[in-house]
Symmetry: C2
Subunit: 688 residues, 2 copies
């Protein structure tokens, strides 16, 4: 997996890209080097898979919440991006529902497509891959010799859903016929997609009772449903249950890449409108699939044989020869792979994308999904709110009481007056003497923001950058993860770096852990030093000052500083007590304490050792900060005058590498990131 791939000129627009098949197609497209824009109206999906894909694929994926029937909304996307091709998944898709609310199906699916095609025409986008369905064939068993089903099988859908798919196929045919040299349309008729992304992070997340066999079994496996119902075991198959052609969703997604490639390779001045079956060509019975899934999850799932369902037929297996021959596409994965991946997805996400205790609100930017403010652990008594700007801790509450300073709008976080409140500090935290460093014999110079040094990377700082994600997981009731990534390239630092910040919240232990990771994706060897800049105040809800906080520091050594607050290279013993009470005394602390750990580029293997303990007698709140890092900056200067917070309203403990390490030969290795290495560290805030 690599970063932003821009080896194509334009973009691929994926409609319905937040859905089950759409999200898997986005993953495959980006893996194959395409740039994707996603539109979705979330009628049967949510933003989570998009946020996850950004983190998983480490790339930006422009997203717009647009309903295709909203021509103005859709046109804005076409106006903003040069769109070369469209993969059109958006549409309502439940057969049963379609018989109950046919107008919604016709309007959403057909009108949505017409609006899309009209705008494509207007903007000169001439390629489209359409998500059709084997449902267009209806009951292929009504004809002799049509199993496995070839594309030549006469169509005859038996429900409004299938009729909308066929109507759209006909619209594409007619549009192509009206300008046959211009339009290039690939119609993909899916058989039964199953499974999930092998990462376990993207999968099928049906709302309500699942319509399909696999998601239903998965819900039985995690005890969301009591048992599986098998509709009829008196068909003339191997075991009496009907035969269907199941296809791994990743194989299916790859079929879209194959089709898009095929359309791209058509010679200029030649159009096309052609249908391909996407199926494995191998049929499996319901009970065979049941057994495969039971094997994957290691549970003998309860099931009951009940009567046949109206409309079900014995066998609907694809003849996929045309796709094999023309698209050079074939399935690679088996039902057993799909079952294993589905089980991985299910165990990692027992409630799909619907995370309990995660509230997703926008941060003063309604509808801007990249301006999310998410809250983990809501209702648990221990919760953290995070912003994409700086992957910042906006709020942290212990028994409902705020313990960090925060701001109330994205604009305030982006403002130059923001003193790094709660933010991730990078590419290089703490001071660099004269803003200079040298890597592999090359001198680099950063903008200065103090007289003799660059603090927290100055103009290059992460704290006002927009991170991608987050990827949120809630695998156990008391545990949450939120991972942000940042593509850090084209800066005053050498190298293109992928930085990630993962917050882990354990509401039972009342501990928030932060894990940093950095990888050099491209370019020259670089330097890195990441930390978090939260201002703690254990009594903030009663008093804007931190006075009265009892502090214990687990170190009596510090880096000796010169006039520029940069180290001389010596470590000295600190005078004064290691336990004290914060009060009005001047000057405040701004000291790099050393905990004696051996410096290295990835400290994550080190023990998480306590470095600071704080408590406040009035609030009764206690905090222990632990880290794998060799030092921490203890800073009591406060955030200055900001939003009513006074100078003494918060203290900081910023674990990291020794101050100015990049310029001290014996410390430099700990901040130098080679392409083969990984930067890493862990810090925890424990309030238990």
């Amino acid at each position: 997996m690599t970063g932003l791939k821009q080896d194509k000129d334009g973009w691929v627009l994926v409609t319905g890209g937040a859905g089950y098949i759409g999200s898997h197609a986005v993953a495959e497209l980006i893996e194959s080097g395409y740039r994707c824009i996603v539109v979705d109206n979330f009628s049967n999906s949510c933003y989570e898979p998009i946020a996850r894909l950004k983190v998983l694929l480490e790339t930006e994926i422009p997203f717009f919440k647009v309903d295709l029937t909203d021509a103005d909304g859709l046109e804005k996307v076409f106006r903003k991006f040069k769109i070369d091709s469209v993969i059109h998944f958006a549409g309502l898709k439940a057969v049963g529902e379609s018989t109950k609310i046919p107008l919604s199906y016709y309007y959403n699916n057909i009108t949505g497509t017409l609006v899309l095609l009209d705008i494509m025409k207007k903007y000169g986008t001439e390629m489209l891959v359409f998500s059709s369905s084997a449902t267009v064939y209806g009951d292929a068993t009504r004809f002799p010799d049509m199993i496995p089903i070839p594309e030549e099988c006469p169509t005859g859908p038996t429900n409004p859903y299938g009729k909308t798919k066929l109507a759209i196929e006909e619209i594409l045919e007619d549009l192509h016929a009206s300008e046959p040299e211009k339009w290039r349309f690939a119609v993909l008729r899916y058989f039964n997609p199953i499974g999930a992304h092998p990462s376990g992070l993207i999968g099928e997340d049906p709302l309500g009772i699942p319509n399909n066999l696999l998601p239903y079994m998965a819900q039985v496996a995690v005890k969301r449903r009591e048992k599986l119902f098998v509709f009829g075991n008196n068909y003339s198959s191997r075991d009496g249950t009907p035969i269907r052609d199941y296809i791994h969703v990743v194989d299916l997604a790859k079929g879209h890449i194959a089709a898009l490639k095929y359309l791209n390779e058509i010679k200029g001045g030649q159009g096309l409108c052609r249908a391909w079956n996407l199926g494995s060509g191998t049929g499996s019975t319901v009970l065979e699939v049941y057994k495969a899934f039971c094997h994957s999850c290691g549970i003998e799932l309860p099931y009951e044989i009940v009567g046949r369902r109206a409309g079900d037929v014995l066998n609907l297996t694809a003849k996929p020869d045309r796709a094999t021959r023309e698209l050079k596409w074939t399935t690679n994965l088996k039902v057993s792979d799909a079952c294993a991946d589905l089980w991985k997805w299910t165990t990692k996400n027992p409630y799909g994308y619907q995370l309990l205790g995660v509230v997703d609100t926008f941060f003063n930017q309604p509808g801007e999904y990249e301006s999310r403010l998410i809250t983990l652990g809501r209702g648990s008594g221990f919760e953290v709110s995070l912003s994409n700007i700086g992957a910042t801790i906006v709020d942290l509450r212990v028994d409902g009481k705020p313990v960090v300073l925060g701001l109330t709008s994205e604009a305030e976080y982006l403002d130059s007056s923001n003193p790094y409140l709660g933010a991730t500090i990078g590419r290089y935290a703490n001071r660099l003497r004269d803003g200079k460093f040298n890597v592999k014999g090359v001198d680099y110079l950063l903008d200065l923001n103090e007289q003799w040094s660059t603090v927290h990377s100055s103009s290059q700082s992460y704290h006002r950058r927009r991170f991608l994600g987050p990827l949120i997981l809630n695998p156990m009731k008391h545990q949450y993860f939120a991972k942000y990534v940042l593509l850090d390239s084209n800066t005053q630092f050498p190298g293109e770096v992928l930085a990630s910040v993962t917050y882990s919240l354990d509401v039972r232990a009342k501990e928030l852990q932060i894990q940093y990771e950095g990888r050099l994706l491209n370019g020259d060897t670089t330097i890195m030093n990441l930390t978090n800049h939260s201002y703690f105040n254990l009594n903030v809800f009663q008093n804007a000052s931190y006075n009265g906080t009892e502090i214990q520091l687990f170190s009596d050594q510090a880096v000796e500083l010169d006039d520029a607050k940069c180290p001389s290279g010596r470590i000295v013993k600190v005078s004064g007590p290691s336990s004290f009470t914060l009060d009005e005394c001047e000057p405040p602390f701004d000291t790099c304490f050393v905990t004696g750990t051996v410096p290295c580029i990835d400290t994550r293997a080190n023990e998480l050792k306590p470095v600071l303990k704080a408590q406040h007698p009035e609030s009764g709140l206690k905090l222990i900060i632990s880290t794998t890092e060799p030092s921490f900056q203890f800073y009591t200067g406060g955030p200055g005058i900001l939003k009513g917070y006074g100078k003494k309203s918060g203290f900081c403990c910023e674990p990291g590498r020794f101050i100015n390490a990049a310029n001290v030969p014996e410390w430099k290795e700990a901040v130098t990131l080679e392409s083969s290495a990984v930067y890493g560290s862990k810090t925890s805030y424990n309030f238990g």
Copy 2:
């Protein structure tokens, strides 16, 4: 024909009601006692047929220019009216065009229908008659024994137009199936509609080159096209040309009434979705129809046999038995009737609704089709502008020079300060002593607007009422007609009266003739006296005063007036010259001159005799006013202070019945309107 029929509770919404079949259906619906609302987007039509239908049917037809895909616009109509049923004609309909711009066809036809159905659902409108087409069958000759075509014939449209019709049929089926006890849908599959309304006022008005045989022949007949092309004469028919089932559009329209009646008569709690062929069951060849039309117009039209058209088949004749059996509907008119009616329509309207020299602008009310300001004779040097308010002469120009006073907004005409400028005066023009009259022994009292009399009907006056129409005709280059009607009911007068005002403009003779007609539709015997209240000024374009106008009156007798300006019952000789020049002399004229004609209720059989001659030496303009009426009020008091017009800025000549005739026994007959009689009069303004 009767007036407003309101014997049904709700309204029938007719979509596409300004189109060919739609307008004929509106005519039949109203004739059958339904109340209709029309919506149309004018994509292939215009407002003229609606204005004509209002006059022809003497009823209000609420109209909204709405595109069905505009849900908000359409919903406003449903919010305003209780709509019981919909007859859905709106849609694009040209087979050839549909293959070139399929997206427009799918979007307009399918999305338009979906929006309509969605709003019907929201407002509880459950009945719809759908305008489908025999095109849904495709080539029925591909099956054995399917000519004549029964409804059971498998569908298979071969072009986007036909596919949209079939798709809508399927949408109706699916929607009905979703709530089978609720929806009532009649699908009418038309064969080949031809002909026109027997009035010759409503007909087919194709834009561009006609696609169909009959309109094409009609254009050949009036020399808009050179000759007819017959596509193939080597089919195995009687004369080698293909056989189609032609159906008179009036018969077709009546099929919709039959279907609507059928739907209305379905018992509560039962729905329906059913298709019926509307055809005659009799096939005619192209050459047979050609001969019938030649017979109607008395011309041997030139034609040429050319090659077959792709897609044409030998025979497409309907089997209409289902409609006959279930809807009790059958065709009554023959191809020869249709040809005769088409020829009548064509000769009356050689350019369809596109009238030359008629400009239709809105009168300060954009989009309000009932606030039209139409101008007849534009560009001819003699033109008149008319408003629906009071069927008023807003402007009359001779060689570009204005000769009447007018206002510039509808609001000014509706304002109480408007001194009847150019308006139609009714129900009873001129004075009624004490506002009283007695008809058949019953006393009636009107609001007074002078101390001892009611002038021009006071609060009941027509001059601020909105007339229906106009029906505009331009049968010859120099001749225009514009007919307005007013349903005058529920006033202080007895009886419901239908008043009509027909303006005839002869631009060659520079003559504007006005014809009034009044009929008592319902209620008690009543009184009537109509006139026009134009203020003439033959020098208005140079000078706001009429001074210097030379007047000759063709009468030396006047009605003797008492103090209330009402007659004593005597006719007296007028002192003073009958020729004079208008100047500042006081008092101004306000005299009812008698021309000696014998009084009767309908004076139209009388000779149009000159009663006033006026000319102005500076402008050189001359005016002769002639009338069939027995008297005329000559009034030089002017319009008062209004829009800069001074007291002497216009003189009036108001032909009519003797002043206060309703209260003078020997004159009363001339203003008493019995239910069997017709009120009538004519007046002309000649500037030649």
